[in-house]
């Protein structure tokens, strides 16, 4: 009995969020369209309550639940809080957008909340099956969300592509997991680690399993050569959903990688380091070079994401506490930047008009100097120019990689960063140096305007005072991995 109570308390935020998501679904049945705003409030409340319990049940130690399949440690708590914050921002940014596109329904909020539960399970999974179930909960919710705008052919195509390729990747992941299970006799990450440590000899089946696992992970992260779905899905999905796909799930995917590779397969670091290295280099090249050729802003941000993931892999492949902490710092910075970037696209969109072409940004400084300035901060941050957050993110992963001895790779990465700077500069050029094509006034709710301003200015202020976020990430990694 005591055990069950402990289990329930450990997984309390997940349970609450799951319950609230169901409540949203039921409440939706009884609401008229005019009152549907209550659903929005309820969803935000759900995140707030979950955040409250995650925060209050936080302990510096590590707690296991449900027969060691679920873990509550510093990393999971920190990442979960970031996920709530990001999702809450997504709700704020997307409200008007989905209202204008007839997507303002209970399903949207319920599906997003389900995907959040999936992310939380990924973050806390301590067993390969738990991790997999979390991943599937997230993925299935996202597939449905992409296709939510039923009559939109492009969105349907994107959903189809996402689903087929995503299912394939899940299959690969499972296949890899089954091989690891076959060799070690356990699905539990700690047991796997233990078994691998005692049995030092490397076995080709283990390596094969690792290859499948890494391929599955790379697909979920969107790293080259498993990046094909990223630009199409980003472009085809409704922008609000693109914002979701590109942001918070990356935090969960990061945790997924840490759990599997750093905790479970730690002894095989030499093998996965090489794989991550190749993927990191390819992602940075393909992401940055291909982004230059894009005319669609969402597509450009998709390639930009790929290159950012390359930098995260740079941190991960260092395979040290320093490297993991800097990768976590990078991915959380990336999520903030990505949310703000898509937030600006949503801000400029209106009924019947998607501001997703690069040319839609032309002359923004004359239409709205404030919005242009926000986008300026976001773009310089993505390019990694100080004093913005993006610089410290790049700085952190590069120093980790240099510490691990990858000097020439670091030099290569900074050269690629210069190429990357080019397409971010082009966005600034369009906003500041060109004349506007579009003269519609920008009409958005005040809460979105404020939230977006805070979000973008956070990139500048955390850039001036990065210590807090750095310490938080270092704390999460150190407490959970050592």
């Amino acid at each position: 009995m005591e055990n069950i109570r402990y289990d329930l308390i450990t997984a309390l935020p997940e349970m609450i969020l799951l319950g609230m998501a169901m409540l949203v679904l039921i409440a939706d049945l009884f609401l008229k369209q005019s009152n549907r705003i209550a659903i929005y409030g309820l969803s935000q409340l759900a995140l707030l309550i979950a955040a409250y319990f995650t925060f209050t049940t936080h302990a510096p130690g590590v707690g296991y639940a449900f027969g060691d399949t679920f873990v509550d440690d510093a990393m999971s708590d920190v990442l979960k809080l970031m996920i709530y914050l990001g999702t809450s921002l997504i709700f704020v940014y997307s409200r008007q957008y989905i209202q204008q596109r007839n997507m303002f329904r209970g399903e949207f909020y319920a599906l997003v909340l389900f995907s959040v539960v999936g992310m939380m399970i990924m973050v806390s999974g301590q067993n390969m099956l738990t991790l997999y179930i979390g991943l599937e909960l997230l993925s299935l919710s996202l597939y449905a969300l992409v296709a939510m705008d039923r009559d939109n052919a492009r969105a349907t195509e994107a959903a189809m592509k996402y689903f087929v390729l995503g299912a394939l990747a899940s299959g690969m992941l499972l296949y890899g997991m089954s091989m690891i299970y076959g060799m070690t006799g356990s699905l539990n990450l700690a047991d796997i680690n233990h078994a691998l440590m005692n049995d030092a000899k490397t076995h080709s089946v283990l390596i094969l399993g690792l290859v499948f696992i890494v391929a599955g992970l790379a697909f979920k992260l969107g790293a080259v050569p498993f990046q094909m779905w990223v630009p199409d899905v980003y472009e085809g999905s409704p922008t609000a959903i693109t914002m979701l796909i590109s942001s918070v799930p990356k935090l969960a995917a990061f945790a997924f990688v840490i759990r599997l590779l750093a905790q479970g397969l730690q002894t095989m670091a030499v093998d996965w380091q090489q794989m991550l290295l190749v993927m990191a280099v390819l992602s940075i090249i393909i992401g940055n070079v291909t982004a230059i050729a894009q005319t669609n802003l969402k597509r450009m941000l998709a390639y930009s994401t790929i290159s950012h993931i390359g930098f995260v892999l740079f941190g991960l492949m260092s395979a040290s506490i320093n490297g993991f902490a800097s990768a976590m710092f990078y991915i959380s910075s990336y999520v903030l930047m990505s949310l703000a970037g898509f937030g600006v696209i949503l801000l400029l969109s209106r009924k019947g008009f998607e501001a997703d072409k690069l040319n839609d940004l032309k002359g923004l400084n004359q239409r709205s100097p404030w919005t242009a300035f926000l986008m300026l901060i976001i773009m310089f941050s993505m390019a990694g120019v100080p004093p913005t957050l993006g610089f410290y993110a790049k700085f952190a992963v590069l120093q980790a990689a240099l510490q691990a001895g990858f000097l020439w790779l670091v030099v290569f990465a900074v050269l690629m960063a210069v190429i990357g700077a080019f397409y971010y500069l082009r966005v600034i050029k369009l906003m500041y140096f060109d004349e506007p094509l579009d003269h519609h006034p920008i009409q958005v709710p005040a809460d979105m305007r404020v939230a977006l301003s805070v979000n973008a200015f956070a990139l500048l202020f955390i850039g001036l005072m990065p210590q807090g976020l750095m310490s938080l990430c270092a704390y999460a990694i150190v407490k959970s991995l050592s």
């Binding site: 120019v385 100080p386 004093p387 700085f395 240099l402 900074v414 210069v418 700077a421 080019f422």
Partner: protein, 499 residues
């Protein structure tokens, strides 16, 4: 009160113009630009006033860092908010805050489009550049170094000429590329010493191979900024397209960031590499001095001509650095300050003409002296200074560098002194074609002479050019102790024992 102020004077020098810049941004109203302009002027004068005590309270006998401030900024990487100024930094800081006043005045009626953003860019840039000159922590320095690209990028891109986008993107990417390699060098040294403090790097022993790599990483960053031949090609583009204020700041201060950084980082951190590569550096400098001067000779665009002339003059600065003697180094520093005044004045002169006729081509003018006699007097003075006439500041630095290089190698001095001929040739030939002769066309005939504002700006610069030319002591007094200390540091090898 005064004590508190003096302890934090560098912080004030950095943050006051930035605060004013942000305040100016909020006065954005192009239909009523007067408050914006006055606020910017007050801000720039206040920021200049704040930096003056750096000189008056400076201890001339001390070659080390004064007015130091230090506290921990980013604990994870041991990065400090560490400021300090030595005899090298103080004149450049004063030059920066002074130039900002000039730039604000020069933009007064000229800039009508987005006045607030223009003024704010220069005020913020001023603070950032002072940050570069006074930061003693590598990452802190790097943040300022890169951050100043952002306002400059916008200034050239928004208020620049027809080909401004190409010019400004080129400027940004060129500089970024070099800087990032420098960042890698910083991170490398951090992992060796566990610190980002510049002074720790000064003491850090390194093998020659490592020193050469570190030096080359710095070289990539600074040579682009100075700019040295052959990575100078961004400068003529940027100058031609930039608005007058942008050209002034670029020539007067931004180029000095590179020169200053050579003395602050590349040479003292890797002294053996600096000696090892000195012939290479001197060769590049001499090419810049001679070849670029010849390139300047054939320019048809006045701004481009002055841009090439800047590169040629900055060749003197790097030549002075790498002959490793007192005269050369002091001459290089004097040359940097003097070039700050002269190039600013020259670009302002072109600006005066451009505002009236809207052409920078030499052939669009002729006989300007007939219609603008006062302006012609100033322009001829600055042209003389640019070609290194004794009695002007342009002479002092070049002469000291030439004297210094004779001590090293006669042929260096021989080649360098060509600049006195070529410099006079391209500058005076331009003056002749623009100012003298018959009135060339109706545009020139319709020219009005300087207004009070323009007269005031040029007069201040003329006084400074002559003052430094006739009596450079106040300047060399500041730098003397630091130069000696630097030279003695450079003469000690940092190779680990056994090499």
């Amino acid at each position: 009160m005064l004590e508190y102020f003096l302890q934090h004077i560098l912080s004030f020098s950095i943050w006051l113009p930035i605060a004013f810049g942000v305040a100016v941004l909020f006065t954005a109203d192009d239909s009523k630009p007067a408050p914006t302009r006055w606020l910017a002027l007050i801000g720039s004068i206040a920021s200049f006033a704040v930096t003056i005590p750096l000189y008056t309270y400076f201890n001339f006998a001390d070659g080390g860092f004064q007015f130091q401030e230090r506290f921990l900024w980013i604990a994870s990487f041991n990065i400090n908010y560490h400021l300090g100024a030595d005899g090298l930094a103080v004149p450049l800081i004063l030059l920066t805050s002074f130039t900002t006043v000039i730039v604000v005045m020069s933009a007064w009626e000229v800039i009508e489009k987005r006045v607030a953003q223009y003024m704010a860019s220069f005020l913020i840039m001023s603070g950032l550049m002072i940050g570069v000159f006074s930061a003693l922590d590598a990452i802190f320095y790097y943040v300022f170094w890169e951050a100043m690209l952002i306002p400059m990028f916008l200034v050239i891109g928004i208020w620049g000429g027809p080909n401004r986008v190409y010019a400004t993107v080129k400027f940004f990417l060129y500089t970024l590329l070099g800087s990032l390699l420098m960042l890698v060098a910083f991170i490398y040294m951090y992992h060796q010493t566990g610190s980002f403090a510049i002074t720790d790097y000064y003491q850090m022993p390194m093998s020659l191979n490592v020193q050469i790599l570190v030096f080359l990483a710095f070289f990539a960053a600074f040579a682009v900024k100075i700019p040295m031949w052959p990575v100078h090609t961004w400068l003529p583009d940027a100058h031609v397209e930039a608005p007058t204020g942008g050209s002034v700041v670029l020539a007067a201060i931004a180029l000095k960031l590179g020169g200053y950084s050579f003395l602050r980082f590349a040479m003292p951190i890797a002294p053996d590499a600096a000696h090892y590569l000195s012939h290479f550096m001197i060769t590049l400098s001499l090419i810049a001095i001679v070849y670029i001067a010849l390139v300047a000779l054939v320019q048809k665009d006045m701004k481009k001509l002055i841009a090439y002339s800047s590169i040629s003059h900055m060749g003197f600065v790097t030549l002075g650095f790498f002959i490793f003697n007192n005269l050369g180094l002091e001459g290089a520093i004097v040359q940097m300050i003097s070039h700050g005044f002269i190039s600013a004045a020259m670009f302002l002169c072109v600006g005066v003409l451009y505002d009236r006729v809207h052409s920078r081509q030499i052939e669009a003018y002729g006989g300007v002296a007939n219609t603008m006699p006062a302006f012609a007097a100033f322009a001829v003075l600055f042209a003389m200074a640019n070609s290194g006439l004794p009695g002007t500041s342009g002479f002092v630095g070049e002469f000291m560098v030439i004297l210094g290089s004779i001590q090293t190698n006669f042929w260096y001095a021989f080649l360098a002194s060509f600049t006195l001929i070529f410099g006079a040739a391209y500058t005076l030939w331009m003056v002749k074609r623009v100012f003298y002769g018959e009135v060339a066309n109706d545009n020139v005939a319709a020219l009005k002479d300087l207004n009070k504002r323009e007269f005031l700006i040029l007069a201040i610069l003329a006084v400074l050019v002559l003052a430094v030319g006739i009596y450079p002591e106040p300047l060399t007094n500041v730098t003397n102790a630091t130069v000696n200390q630097l030279l003695s540091h450079l003469s000690h090898s940092k190779l680990p024992a056994g090499f």
